[in-house]
Amino acid sequence: MAGPRTLHVRCTTWEQVEVFHTRKLRRGKLLSMRVPFRADPGAEVTLNLELPNQVVIVIDGVVLKSSPVETDPKAARSDAGKTWLEVELVGFTEDVVARIRRMAGGGDPSGEPAPAPAPASPPPRARTTGAVPVLPGDELPADERLLFQQLTAELRRVRALAVHEVLGVARDADAEQIRRGWMNLIRRHHPDLVARRNAPAINHLAEELTILANRAYDRLRVALVAEGRAASVGPALTPPPGWLVGFEDISSTGSILRSKLAQTLQSGGNAPQVEPLARPPSSAAAEGGEAFEQRARVMLGDGDSANAQEVLAAALCVYPRSRPLRSLYYVASAISALGKGEVMLATSQLETALAHHEDCAEAAAILELLRRPNTPPGSAEMTRLFR
């Protein structure tokens, strides 16, 4: 057999290089391929890998296995005379990978070792229109171990930096520069860019780097707003009115209720401001709840069941497990229902109140009044219960 055979692999884009590296090349630098010549195991093969920048890298290899391709009768094209080769690319060393990576990163065309690591802040990118830009994230090294090392080093470096240095901008940078710096960073490190690798460790590193970038971005934006150099920190995503649970309705029920709540909390004094760690949590909840409860009772005593209901609803957001509060809420709701003449609804509310808290005397008392044969209970009778 005359001399070593040469195979030529041409990659026109860096993605193809990456695909070649990650998909075609198996562990142990093994490359399987179909070739139009016969080769015996042990024979030497040379692989010429042509990169997108026309640099050809010569990689030495040794044939490990060779078997003729079975001709598939169904396939139209003839595979006769072709051979499956399994080649070990012994010449595909870490140095070669590193060299390719440097070239992919836009380094010098020869791929010789660069004098210093590339700075983390590439020049600001002009607003592109038309074509989708190639993200630097796509140019991360294909090799997992290299990528891991690179991200770890990057993380160590970034952790030690001040926020503006993280984004690679000046201390007094404006909103646009900060945004550019942040965009460049997340284009390099966003975890989505490495999600396809399915490597938890790399994903984690990418997430950590993104967290640092996002935090730097948020802090600089907050600082800009504080200095009055920007209008708002970021987008305000709010649900359509009425969608979300928790706070909006309580705050929108008007300043009167809010000030009442504030009074409650202050006059309740003992509850929220007191050091909670000195007590078991349950008692803390009960005491805080009492402040609300008293306030609601006063309202109920004044015949203002609607506001009492709102106060209790608010209180239940803070102390969701307080049984007295919950049962009182149902009592208030029952009184409101009675005010509208809805006896059935009121009865069920009172029963619910008792179900939540058996000792709820008011609920039992009003139920008793309801069972009275002729006259429905008057509001005076009910307000008296709370005085």
């Binding site: 038309g130 993200l135 997340i186 935090r215 970021g234 928790g246 504030a262 909390l265 909670p276 803070v318």
Partner: protein, 520 residues
């Protein structure tokens, strides 16, 4: 790796999409051949029924047929909204032990909204497995952009119960722009108007150099195709009374039949100017004879009836523009999403309010699901050059009994992390408890309680000597996780959840097993 799908889990309809081998998106069909699966679950005597078949439940047992479970996901029972909602819903809402909203089934049993959504997702999973002929265990699920952490977690839990790993929770406006192909075009400022079955959502989305960012969201939580149906049915019921002389208001079966017929007619009237409502058997007379109902309906009649609803489109659009500080001239493209945007009157109104002709997508019902499927492809690395940026819809705060202290600000870009240091307050203190809230107020009453946590097994030391660093991370999906360590030694400390919103992990796992057994 197993197959993954993109799911638009809607308030009234759900859609599932996959990317074919040739890169083209494909909408999967239900066993009945429809491209949308009604988000309906009927807890029938023979077990839960999902989708189109569950519509029968609306006739037989409206109290056991759950719709709009998405509205209830991750919400507190005390909230006035839920109180209002519980008055109008035909099924009963109850309070779960941890204060969440659950649904009472009349059999003395209650289910969480997560389980209801999981039943829908399981049906979707079956559709996908029928299509592929192999297991499907991963999905991208779309959610409203303003979903808070509790709602996001609830969505994830629902998926887990259904046996699906969530690759990413994707915001609906982003998904719509992605499905529309915004990643292939030039930089644009989009306004996404999504008018579906139950809700109207408006979002301003910026696409700049391959980075998608949602800038503002608003909407109307109770405006959609169902409301138009209701108006039409009300008018038809009135017509039945005047033309036939009997009142069917209280006859739920007849009203439901009328609603289905009216819905079909409404769809037809988007393409033609005149159609008719036809119900072969509206009611049965005491003699046993069936009464047929037949009424021609013109498009302008429909538009007149729904005019007051369509007028409600204007305010949210203006509000969305105001919130992101834009004038309507700044918007470069208006995207129409959701089946209701097929209605010519809706398109006219949106064109009038935004001052530009909206972009008409051939498949407004499906574009969000297509976006979700493209997201699957993006995470797999098939689509490059696109990054989707999400922000925390709500700030995160902690308290130790008193006022809330903001830890992570609203609209922080996620993923993000912040920490707080807590010190012991008395000698040999063994544990530190703290509450976590979602919201921006210092007053706990105005925030949403996410949970109460305890740092356990502190080393014995004089007061103030043990410092605990609590880290809060909001991940790329917008869900929250916690970690605690001793500040000085850096040693990991155990963190216990004393109370938290949503289902407990053990409960999710138990339900997941239960679902697996039910399917096999």
């Amino acid at each position: 790796m197993s197959r993954a799908v993109g799911i638009d889990l809607g308030t009234s309809n759900s859609v599932v999409a996959v990317i074919d081998k040739d890169g083209a998106p494909r909408i999967l069909t239900t066993p009945e051949g429809a491209t949308t699966l009604p988000s309906l679950v009927w807890f029938s005597p023979d077990g839960p029924v999902v989708g189109e078949l569950a519509r029968a439940g609306l006739d037989y047992s409206p109290d056991l047929t759950i719709f709009g479970a998405k509205r209830l996901l991750g919400r507190r029972f005390d909230h006035p909204d839920i109180r209002r909602l519980s008055r109008v819903l035909p099924f009963e809402l109850v309070e779960a032990p941890n204060g969440d909203t659950w649904i009472a089934l009349s059999a003395g049993r209650s289910v969480s909204p997560e389980e209801v959504c999981a039943l829908i997702l399981r049906e979707i999973r079956r559709m996908a497995e029928d299509h592929y002929g192999e297991p499907v265990t991963r999905a991208v699920i779309t959610i409203p952009a303003w979903y808070d952490a509790a709602q996001r977690q609830a969505t994830k839990d629902a998926a887990q119960i259904a046996g699906l790993t969530v690759l990413r929770l994707l915001s609906e406006p982003t998904a719509a722009s992605l499905g529309h192909g915004a990643h292939r075009g030039a930089d644009r400022r989009y306004l996404v108007c999504d008018l579906g079955g139950g809700t109207f959502d408006v979002a301003a989305v910026d696409v700049e150099a391959g980075i998608f960012e949602v800038l503002a969201t608003t909407g109307d939580a109770f405006l959609g195709g169902d409301d138009v149906d209701r108006v039409v049915v009300d008018n038809l019921v009135r017509d039945v009374r005047s033309s036939r002389g009997f009142d069917i208001t209280s006859d739920t079966v007849a009203v439901e039949r009328l609603r289905l017929a009216a819905q079909t007619t409404k769809h037809e009237l988007s393409d033609v100017a005149v159609s008719k409502v036809y119900v072969p058997e509206l009611v049965q007379l005491p003699s046993g004879r069936a009464v047929e109902y037949h009424k021609p309906l013109r498009r302008d009649e429909l538009e007149q009836w729904s005019a007051s609803l369509i007028r409600r489109i204007e305010a949210p659009i203006k509000e969305a523009l105001k919130r992101c500080g834009r004038k309507r001239e700044d918007i470069e493209e208006v995207l129409l999403v959701g089946g209701m945007t097929r209605m010519p009157a809706v398109r006219r109104e949106i064109a009038r309010v935004t001052g530009r002709e909206p972009h008409v997508i051939p498949n407004p019902e499906e574009v969000v699901a297509v976006g979700a499927a493209l997201e699957v492809a993006r995470l797999d690395g098939t689509i490059e050059g696109v990054l989707l940026i999400d922000v925390a819809a709500r700030g995160l705060a902690v308290s130790m009994g008193g006022d809330c202290e903001q830890v992570i600000a609203q609209s922080s870009v996620v993923p993000t992390r912040e920490h707080r240091v807590f010190g012991t307050r008395h000698d040999d203190q063994l544990r530190i408890e703290f509450d976590v809230w979602e919201g921006e107020s210092a007053d706990p009453a105005q925030n949403r309680h996410l949970g109460r946590y305890a740092v356990l097994d502190l080393p014995p030391a004089p007061a103030g000597d043990v410092l605990v660093l609590v880290e809060m991370t909001i991940d790329t999906d917008g869900t929250v996780r916690f970690g605690a360590s001793e500040l000085v030694s850096g040693e990991r400390l155990q963190l216990e959840q004393l109370y938290h919103a949503g289902l407990a992990r053990t409960e999710v796992l138990r339900l997941q097993r239960q679902f697996e057994e039910a399917s096999s």
